[in-house]
């Protein structure tokens, strides 16, 4: 998927961050717009009509969560939030409010671009494809089949549900709450230990080196993602 013409709106009060993002994204073929604060950001979202929004949670005028909520009232445009370390609760709140993914400052450009691509892919609705591939991990949604390095792997129903939920999200992060809700249902949102146990089991079946997973990635304090 080329980035030609895809519009990205950058909402951040730090001029250096805006510059860095603008230069890098432009070099990769994206078209960029900028806003220095929350209010301007909301306006630009309507005027610039971006395909993706990068939103810093530490804005001076509005709470980042409010911006996400305000945006979600009228648009489903993918939103990536930027936050600092140890503000996990903010990230979770933003994700629950409707943000698609997050990045922790300082982040690497490769990480950023990967998450932008994942968010755009998801938005474009490419989940119609029943077979999802993540390097050597192939998930066939139609036939409920998982192969790793061309060998079939047998999963329990719950393990399948977890893998499917992550796969369908295509590289975007899922919070613990979202996962528990999807797999076990509402009311299980506090049962973290279920997740831990099943993810551990899943890794042992699906990862070449379960201790250093390359597919099912833990996002500390936030949730999991499938790469």
């Amino acid at each position: 998927m080329t980035a030609k013409g895809i519009r990205v709106l950058i909402i951040d009060d730090e001029p250096q961050i805006r510059r860095m993002l603008r230069v890098a994204l432009t070099a990769h073929g994206y078209e960029t717009g900028e806003a220095q604060c929350g209010e301007a950001g909301l306006q630009q979202a309507a005027l610039f009509r971006p395909d993706l929004i990068i939103l810093d949670l530490g804005l001076p005028d509005l709470d980042g969560i409010h911006v996400v909520q305000a945006l979600r009232e009228w648009t489903a445009v993918p939103i990536l939030v930027l936050s600092v370390r140890s503000h996990e609760q903010d990230k979770i709140k933003a994700l629950d409010a409707g943000a698609d993914d997050y990045l922790t400052k300082p982040f690497g450009m490769g990480e950023l671009l990967a998450r932008i691509r994942a968010a755009l892919r998801h938005a474009a609705g490419s989940t119609d494809d029943p077979v999802l591939q993540f390097d050597d991990l192939i998930i066939d949604l139609a036939h409920r089949m998982v192969t790793v390095a061309e060998k079939e792997v047998k999963l329990t129903p719950i393990e399948w549900d977890i893998l499917k939920a992550l796969a369908v999200h295509g590289g975007k992060v899922l919070t613990h709450k979202q996962l528990l809700n999807t797999v076990w249902g509402p009311g299980y949102e506090g049962e973290m230990h279920y997740l831990r146990v099943y993810v551990g089991q899943l890794r042992r079946k699906v990862e070449i080196n379960p201790a250093q997973p390359s597919h099912i990635i833990t996002e500390p304090g936030v949730g999991y993602r499938l790469l």
Binding site: R85, S86, E88, P106, M192, H193, R196, V197, V199, G200, P210, A211, Q212, P213, T218, P220, G221
Partner: protein, 515 residues
């Protein structure tokens, strides 16, 4: 019996003496002469005066002259005095008895008084020596007040002034009648620097006697005394005593306050030293990576065309690595500040240790590029109630430490297992061993092994590990491996109420030390 009663014993002896004397003089009369006999009769009078005082000696004097008259003056056996000279002798006897008796009594009283005073002073002296080494102001004042009250038989109160607003506060003791008037008197004394109260020239209506506690720096407070039996006392005499007491109190207060100030200054100096050390360390650790970054970047900016692609790549790598290093330092500083400030909130959730190790190793991937990494997790490892992000920080710091103190190509092993009450994680590295006395000190803030050469880093990493592990109720320690290198291990309790004892060796079947 009448004459064996204590009070009448002197009389008995006096009379006995007189009788003896009378008999002797009657017998020896002719050899002695009348003058000498008269003089001899003075002896019992003098003796009783000196020994028993005025009253007894007067009685004996009367009896002596009667006896003298009766037995030794013509006509014998009668009490008539037909020579006026003997009347004079009689008067003389009486006067001698009276004067000597009075003087000796007074002397006796004075001696008794001096002895009493000496006894009190000796008690005071021992007491003041005892409190000379106490450094708690409250307890010293309490003891002082109690002792003085005992010696003086009254109630004592000590009021000291607050440094800032000079308000008087009761620091020790109570005056049961300390009403508003008494307090006013104390304030008066404080400001006028003179004694006041009962028995003095000022504020006589007040119940207690108030003395200023003065020092070289001025009046620091007031001591108040309220005697239990106000009538009996000679205030003038007690004023000397009270002076001594108030001096003792002032000295004690001044001494303790000086000592406290010295302690404060000492602590301030120590914390300043630590602060200076911290600043030095930080300055170095922040400026060094920045030097590399700025150097590399400006180099690329000013003469990009001069560098080959390989050279450029190297400079970029430098910028990246040093920036990551600074990022880790900043994280450590923040964590340390949080730990110090007590604002670390440990959000415990049941976590998978293998997961945490995996995330930490992933994050440190670049730094571990030149090391051989081995991860061994015991199957069936229990979920552990920890804060994921904090525990990840612990492992990141332990890995950074292991890399720092090992050589390229060395092996770094991570190990996790759990028992009934504890979960255990170890990080082991090959390389130099630590001297035994250092094994504990490495967890101190800013401790760095300078003897091994400066390896960079702020010395905070292990201190943070310790802070976080202990905030989880766990323990962390370092030991030297049997072969070479160091292993750092920590325990995390599996439930809230685990007793704080070390897990048995059952957890460590495959020694991590086999590096």
């Amino acid at each position: 019996m009448f004459f064996l009663d204590r009070r009448y014993l002197p009389y008995f002896w006096g009379v006995l003496g007189l009788l003896l004397l009378t008999v002797c003089t009657r017998l020896l009369g002719p050899f002695l002469g009348e003058v000498n006999i008269a003089l001899l009769f003075l002896l019992p009078v003098l003796f009783t005066a000196v020994k028993w005082g005025r009253r007894v000696s007067v009685v004996i004097a009367i009896l002596a002259s009667l006896s003298f008259d009766f037995f030794l003056i013509l006509p014998y056996g009668s009490l008539s005095i037909w020579d006026m000279r003997y009347l004079v002798s009689f008067l003389m006897f009486l006067i001698v008895a009276w004067l000597t008796g009075t003087m000796s009594q007074r002397l006796g009283n004075q001696v008794k008084e001096i002895q009493e005073r000496e006894a009190r002073m000796a008690a005071l002296n021992t007491f003041s020596q005892k409190i000379a080494f106490t450094t708690d102001l409250d307890s010293v004042l309490q003891t002082l007040v109690k002792k003085i009250a005992e010696i003086l038989d009254g109630e004592v109160v000590v009021l000291l002034s607050d440094d800032e607003n000079h308000a008087l506060k009761v620091m020790a003791g109570t005056l049961s009648h300390i009403g508003h008037q008494e307090y006013e008197a104390a304030i008066w004394v404080f400001h006028h620097k003179q004694a006041a109260g009962r028995g003095t020239n000022h504020l006589r209506e007040v119940q207690g006697l108030y003395l200023p506690l003065s020092t070289e720096q001025g009046v620091i407070g007031v001591m108040g005394v309220c005697f239990n039996h106000p009538g009996d006392n000679d205030y003038q005499e007690y004023l000397h005593l009270l002076d001594a007491f108030s001096n003792l109190t002032s000295l004690a207060v001044v001494r303790i306050r000086l000592w406290e100030k010295a302690q404060e200054t000492h602590l301030l100096q120590e914390s300043e030293k630590l602060y200076a050390a911290l600043l030095n360390s930080l300055s170095h650790d922040l400026h060094t990576p920045l030097a590399s970054i700025i150097g590399a970047v400006t180099g690329l900016m000013e003469g990009e065309e001069l560098y080959s692609p390989g050279a450029k790549k190297e400079l970029f790598q430098t910028i990246n690595q040093e920036s990551q290093r600074m990022n880790r330092l900043v994280n450590n500083l923040l964590e340390m500040t949080r730990l110090e400030g007590g604002i670390v909130k440990v959000r415990k959730e049941l976590c998978d240790l293998e997961d945490i190790i995996g995330v930490a190793v992933g994050r440190m991937k670049d730094l571990l590029a030149n090391r051989v990494v081995s991860i061994k997790v015991k199957p069936g490892l229990a979920l552990v109630p920890v804060d994921f992000v904090l525990m990840e920080q612990v492992l990141v710091n332990l890995i950074e430490n292991a890399v720092k103190y090992s050589e390229p190509g060395n092996k770094i092993s991570l190990f996790a297992c759990s028992g009934d009450e504890w979960a255990e994680v170890s990080v082991a590295n090959q390389g130099k061993e630590l001297p035994n006395d250092v094994l504990e000190k490495v967890f101190d803030k800013f401790y760095r092994m300078d003897s091994l050469g400066r390896v960079g880093g702020s010395g905070l990493g292990l201190a943070i590990c310790k802070g976080i592990v202990e905030a989880h109720g766990g323990k962390i320690w370092a030991r030297n491996n049997p072969n070479e290198g160091v292993t750092i291990t920590f325990h995390i309790p599996l439930n809230e109420h685990s007793p704080q004892k070390l897990i048995e060796r059952n957890c460590r079947k495959d020694e991590v030390a086999k590096t």
